[in-house]
């Protein structure tokens, strides 16, 4: 390489640059070290929330809160996918949030293990109004090791069996009320040339929803509760095997069509299939309603129906039970300086104005007195169905991929996808799960 500068000049420049690089790197280390006391500054509360269309509810709450409080809340919206990573890397550093949004269960289990969160159990015990403010099964679902670490702060997201009224009408069919109905409907719709159930099998989590409901109906909520508490042998429960066999049976019957393994949810593959009358039913989280409403408004108005997941003959589970994401929670960092104010802020999620904002946003709140407010919801019928279903549910099982620690959830999703694709037999599936 030819020198542009003279050799002498060039070396001087190099030496200067080197000095700058070295000293600035050292300086950076220094400033990091001096602030390592942890946990946010006095006088402000850093609140982190997952950024999406619903964050305006939290924005409004922060604004109301700051009007009356001396300690000011600063809301940081963290964009989608990187949220979990970001919280995880920040916790235990001086840049950690004082209060943060989470999914309960496995999403905070590691933090609980390391004593990084405020145990809210005494608060809930001391303040029956706080505990009674939310639907029981939802508060319970947020527990980790039998203690409360979260205050519910968003709408509920149960998994619902959606059906396409138009397709049902053409086939002269009724929505399923029993497992026999389900099996009969599979043949009916196959005869009509319609996929019985839309399934986004390229993403593993929609398949997980099937497994969650099947195990709940077959073995009851306690089977997964045992798994969640760390008992790997519980995967060997006969109910798990029967669940896996039922999945195999459904696949063999053609319940999901032939190409479900290539269908995605994130790019609306499954939802479009369902809305375009090419699939009769779709098992999906309650957000499917809002998703369809923005993409296929006419479909929602005219032919979107919903019902509960039916019971399975000889199943031990209560057919009123629900699976899904009960809600999202606020948790408080144990290192937070302004603990008192932090508590006040999270309790804000039960106040009337907040609940009203949630309803206006199209969410179904998880507070126990939300019923009368649902009339002002943009889709009151749908909101009331959801609310009734969840309120009546003896158990609300948290989505397994959220409930289990990440180290287990990830391989679990892979195994479930393999089960649906026929790459693992039912028996091998239970063995693989026991081995995690």
């Amino acid at each position: 390489m030819r020198n542009i500068l003279s050799p002498r000049g060039g070396r001087a420049v190099a030496a200067i640059t080197a000095t700058i690089v070295a000293s600035s790197a050292l300086a950076a280390c220094g400033s990091d070290g001096s602030e390592a006391a942890g946990g946010g500054k006095e006088g402000t509360l850093n609140v982190w929330v997952y950024q999406d269309a619903s964050t305006k509810v939290q924005e409004a709450a922060v604004e109301r809160f700051n009007k009356t409080s001396d300690v000011k809340v600063k809301l940081t919206q963290v964009p989608g996918d990187s949220y979990q990573d970001k919280v995880r890397t920040a916790m235990g550093t001086p840049n950690a949030p004082d209060i943060f949004f989470n999914w309960g269960g496995g999403s905070i289990a590691n933090f609980v293990e390391k004593d990084m969160l405020v145990d809210l159990t005494p608060e809930f015990e001391k303040d029956p109004k706080l505990k009674g403010a939310f639907i029981q099964s939802i508060v319970e679902a947020g527990k980790v090791n039998d203690k409360f670490y979260g205050v519910p702060m968003r709408g509920m997201q149960p998994v619902i069996l959606f059906y396409n009224k138009n397709v049902f009408e053409k086939a002269g069919a009724e929505p399923p009320e029993s497992w026999d109905d389900v099996l009969a409907l599979i043949d009916t719709f196959k005869g009509e040339g319609v996929t019985p159930f839309a399934l986004a099998g390229a993403d593993a989590w929609p398949e997980l929803m099937w497994v969650e409901y099947l195990l709940d109906r077959i073995g009851g909520a306690e089977v997964f509760q045992r798994i969640q508490s760390g008992d790997a042998e519980a995967w060997g429960d006969p109910a798990v095997l029967k669940t896996a066999q039922t999945v195999e049976d459904l696949v063999d019957r053609g319940a999901f069509g032939k190409n479900y393994a290539s269908v995605n949810y994130t790019e609306d593959g499954a939802s479009t299939l369902f809305a375009k009358d090419r699939a009769a039913m779709h098992l999906m989280g309650s957000w499917e309603f809002a998703n369809q409403k923005s993409n296929q408004p006419d479909f929602v108005k005219e032919s979107l129906g919903w019902t509960a997941f039916p019971a399975i003959p000889d199943g031990k589970g209560d057919p009123k039970s629900v699976v899904g994401n009960p809600t999202n929670y606020w948790s408080i960092n144990a290192e937070a300086k302004e603990q008192e104010t932090a508590l006040e802020f999270v309790k804000f999620a039960a106040e009337e104005a907040y609940v009203g904002d949630l309803v206006d946003n199209g969410d179904v709140p998880t507070t126990s007195d939300a019923e009368e407010r649902l009339a002002s919801h943009s889709a009151p019928e749908y909101a009331e169905f959801q609310y009734e279903m969840v309120k009546a549910a003896p158990d609300f099982t948290l989505s397994w991929d959220q409930a289990l620690p990440a180290q287990k959830a990830d391989p679990m999703l892979t195994n479930i996808q393999k089960l649906f694709n026929g790459q693992l037999s039912a028996k091998d599936f239970t063995e693989a799960m026991k081995g995690l």
Binding site: R8, A14, T19, D85, Q407
Partner: protein, 317 residues
Amino acid sequence: MPASATSGTTVKEPATGVVARPSGASGAGRPGLGWAVPGLLFFAFFAIVPMLLVVALSFTAWEGLGTPEWTGGANWSRLWNDPVMRQAVWLSVLLTALSWLFQTPVALLLGVWSAGRQRNRAVLSAIFFLPLLASSVALALLWKTLLDPNFGLIADLGPYIGFPDGNLIGDSRGAFAAVVFVASWQFIPFHTLLYQGGARQIPASLYDAALVDGAGTVRQFFSITLPQLRNTIITSSVLMVVGALTFFDTVLILTEGGPGTDTTIVPYLMYRTGFQAFDMGYASAIATILVVIATSVSLLLVRLTGFGAMRSTREGM
């Protein structure tokens, strides 16, 4: 402090440097070590130090929280017996080989063609170049939509290529083929550009002489163009191989490593283990293996092909 030491030596060196220059031609000698200092420091801070940390982490169990816990060789023995890792290494090797086999001929022919003076060449070259301008994430999302089995292009094309239900990315071979195709399709323009530049450097006199000797287009290609492009082929191949070994984003978006783990190549397995399962210790072991493989493969390529010596293709001209 290291800076002051280097500045001390730099003051003395120029004199000897100038004297030692054999040819005496201006600036023909090698620049002094001082030039390398900023680069070396940069490399040390952002590559060597993190790499050493990763090697250290591979001997620990760490969930990304608190202090890593020393576990000795536990991650390494697990790595040795992990069927998913074995599969991932195999898939990475396969991806590297297949994408090289696919990209090289296409890029070579396109590059040589676009080096010519045909009509419409500039317009067509600009069109071929387009995939390189978009981000790979955007491209992967585009292909994901095209490969939707019910509404995408594959719903119509599938029956002709052996996927009657459009079930391409849900099929083990289909999904892998899709990754190879999309990755190659995306990077062919870049390699085309390399070959175009290389082909333009070939002196026209060679072709004139060949023409006089009665060589046709095909003969000219194999006897002149190809040998003259030797160094370009090596450069492009090294880039392709190293690129394929560390390839990641298309898999993340297009197939998410599935169906099952059938498109889980090593970098994706590392990401999944580290940032989805938060098993940082094990992910570090995978990362270490990846660094070792990628470095040795590229060193090997450089050795075997004589790339380091870079013999001129125009010796004796």
